[in-house]
């Protein structure tokens, strides 16, 4: 299937430009229509910037009785079979090992859908008649993440699970306001940028919103051309804490960034407060 995008996707961007148009692109993705069908589980194969979309959807799904698994891996799990739905997302369509993953999944007889702007993946889908959601060409793969999130939420809605679609739909206006407020007063952004400038950030978030930490890492990797790492809480508060608590005199340029996001589990707030106290 091909969503009815405007010939030029830039018509949906905010005046702030493509990179800052996440809410508009999510909203655009939510417009995608899928034929209603049954599904018991969805596996989303995605790597690189695209995996942020897969991770976001999988994290958000944990609260609901429907299994969504993000697979950031070139291996196809042996248990995927004809009862499963699979979404392969590759913006370029030329992700390493994409041919092997696609072929292996076809052999497993699962229901495959692909989301791509072209490349080898689009060619294989055309040859085999695989349902394909075409993304607009000439986007930065990171910009496409908003669209990918919206489209995947629409797919879940077509399976009868509209929770994430509804949540995203209700967040579009607040997200736009938040973005506009950051543009109007960039002092906090500038403050954090100054603190991180020339340093190596390690960005942490609670496990059920780790997509945010991953997005930070990937954006710093690519925009700043600087090494960056990401991790999750818990785990940080187990083994990793011991490494960070040391003086690490050789690694003075490392900076910890903790994204204080809300979690389904209230205990995380306590863990984070205590963890920061130990580090101080």
């Amino acid at each position: 299937m091909k969503p009815s995008y405007a010939a030029d996707i830039s018509s949906v961007y905010s005046s702030a430009g493509a990179v800052l148009s996440l809410p508009e692109l999510i909203a655009e993705g939510l417009k995608t229509q899928f034929k209603v069908s049954d599904s018991s589980s969805l596996y989303i194969f995605a790597t690189g910037p695209t995996s942020v979309a897969a991770q976001f959807i999988a994290d958000a799904s944990n609260k609901y009785p429907y299994r969504v698994i993000s697979v950031v891996d070139s291996r196809v799990p042996g248990w995927i079979g004809e009862k499963d739905d699979v979404l392969i997302i590759s913006y370029s369509g030329n992700t390493p090992k994409i041919t092997e993953i696609y072929d292996e999944l076809r052999q497993s007889r699962c229901r495959i859908r692909c989301m791509t702007s072209g490349g080898i993946l689009a060619d294989m889908c055309r040859q085999n008649g695989t349902e394909t959601i075409y993304l607009p060409e000439d986007l930065d793969p990171r910009t496409a993440v908003g669209l990918e999130i919206g489209i995947t939420a629409s797919l879940l809605k077509s399976f009868g699970y509209s929770h994430i679609y509804d949540m995203l739909d209700s967040f579009i206006a607040p997200l736009k306001s938040y973005r506009d407020s950051l543009l109007a007063d960039p002092s906090r952004v500038n403050e954090v940028a100054k603190e991180l400038s020339g340093n190596i950030p390690a960005v942490y978030s609670v496990v059920d919103s780790v997509a945010a930490a991953k997005r930070w890492k990937l954006s710093i990797d690519e925009d700043v051309r600087s090494p960056a790492f990401y991790g999750e809480i818990p785990e940080f508060d187990h083994n990793e804490l011991v490494g960070w608590a040391d003086e690490n005199a050789h690694a003075k340029s490392l900076r910890i960034v903790v994204l204080m996001l809300r979690s389904e589990y209230e205990q995380y707030k306590k863990v984070m407060d205590c963890m920061l106290a130990v580090l101080e």
């Binding site: 790597t47 690189g48 995996s51 944990n62 609260k63 609901y64 009785p65 429907y66 299994r67 698994i69 950031v72 891996d73 070139s74 291996r75 196809v76 799990p77 042996g78 248990w79 190596i200 390690a202 496990v207 059920d208 990797d221 690519e222 051309r225 600087s226 090494p227 790492f229 999750e232 818990p234 785990e235 508060d237 187990h238 083994n239 990793e240 804490l241 011991v242 490494g243 960070w244 608590a245 040391d246 690490n248 005199a249 050789h250 690694a251 340029s253 490392l254 389904e264 589990y265 205990q267 995380y268 306590k270 863990v271 407060d273 205590c274 963890m275 106290a277 130990v278």
Partner: protein, 318 residues
């Protein structure tokens, strides 16, 4: 179990694994397996999931959170691993798995987890007491694999041969030649932040390296797989930044893929073509290496003061 030094516990890794692999469990009928644990106790689940991911007909999902996913049900087996039996997150996973009617097996040396399982009528596989939690990994991997066998999952290798080979590899690592090899890597990693990267099939081993360097050596370290850490990005880091970071690739094929990208890149090849044997050898190499790095830094690998502090703070506010 008599109290053993950390070095002795390290030495016994292949023996512990061999013993646990002989553990017999009645057949288990389930549609999905959740491997639940945190920190050192989570490693075994991740390693075993990597061994079976390509061949298992049953979903194997690792969970590290305060609860299990909402889709878990009475056809789900939750393997709850916690050495102490008192890990807050793991107890949360136990409670939610129980609420959802999952089948449950705990692997623990005692604590609240054992008490709750015994009270609720769930099976407990006991771990020996007086061990460093992270050095009980031989038992934990072996017991988890025994559970996989009870669920009908099959391995493609003769695991007894693998254990025998691991004992020989242990003897090599403890020999003069092995020590010299480890010493060379210790020198390369001195005063650097290691970023341990490997193939997708050994990502759990890279994670083990990171956690062992964190706890034994008291160093910050990072890890990842090729699917997450694009080669070009890593090369770019190494060329553009000289910030005391060392890229460590582990595994035979990974080294070939990377080649030598920079003078701050080292590759560790433990010399086996088989995934399971190679993974376990690489776990052992990382364990010995991180212990030797700790000695080099004059830090006590057994001491984990920040975690003790954190647990005390959490107790105070609970």
């Amino acid at each position: 179990m008599p109290e053993m030094s950390v070095k002795e516990q390290l030495h016994h890794f292949p023996d512990d694994l061999g013993k646990a692999l002989r553990y017999k469990i009645d057949k288990i009928d389930c549609d999905c397996i959740l491997l639940c644990g945190m920190g050192g106790s989570a490693i075994s689940g991740s390693i075993v999931a990597d061994f079976f991911i390509k061949t298992s007909g049953i979903p194997l999902i690792t969970v590290k959170n305060f609860g299990v996913p909402k889709w878990a049900n009475n056809r789900t087996l939750a393997i709850i691993s916690s050495y102490s039996g008192n890990t807050m997150e793991t107890l949360g996973m136990y409670s939610t798995a129980r609420e959802r009617g999952c089948k449950i097996i705990a692997i623990t040396s005692g604590g609240i987890l054992q008490e709750r399982c015994e009270k609720d009528g769930y099976k407990v596989i006991p771990l020996p007491k007086n061990m460093q939690p992270r050095h009980s990994v031989g038992y934990m991997i072996g017991y988890t694999m025994s559970i996989m066998k009870a669920c009908g999952l099959k391995l493609h290798v003769d695991i007894c041969k693998v254990v025998k080979s691991l004992k020989e590899y242990r003897d090599y690592l403890e020999s003069e030649d092995g020590s010299k090899l480890i010493e060379r890597f210790v020198a390369s990693l001195s005063d650097t932040v290691p970023a341990v990267v490997t193939s997708d099939s050994m990502q759990s081993v890279a994670f083990r390296w990171k956690t062992q360097i964190n706890e034994n050596t008291k160093f910050v370290a990072f890890c990842g797989s090729f699917s997450e850490y694009d080669c070009s990005i890593i090369c770019n880091w190494a060329e553009k930044f000289d910030r005391n970071m060392t890229l460590v690739t582990i595994g035979r094929f990974d080294g070939e893929r990377f080649g030598s990208v920079h003078d701050k890149h080292i590759n560790v090849d433990t010399g086996s073509e088989d995934l399971i044997e190679s993974s376990l050898r690489t776990v052992m190499f990382g364990d010995y290496l991180s212990m030797r790095m700790a000695e080099n830094r004059h830090v006590n690998p057994e001491e984990v003061e920040p975690i003790v502090c954190l647990k005390n703070l959490l107790k105070k506010i609970s």
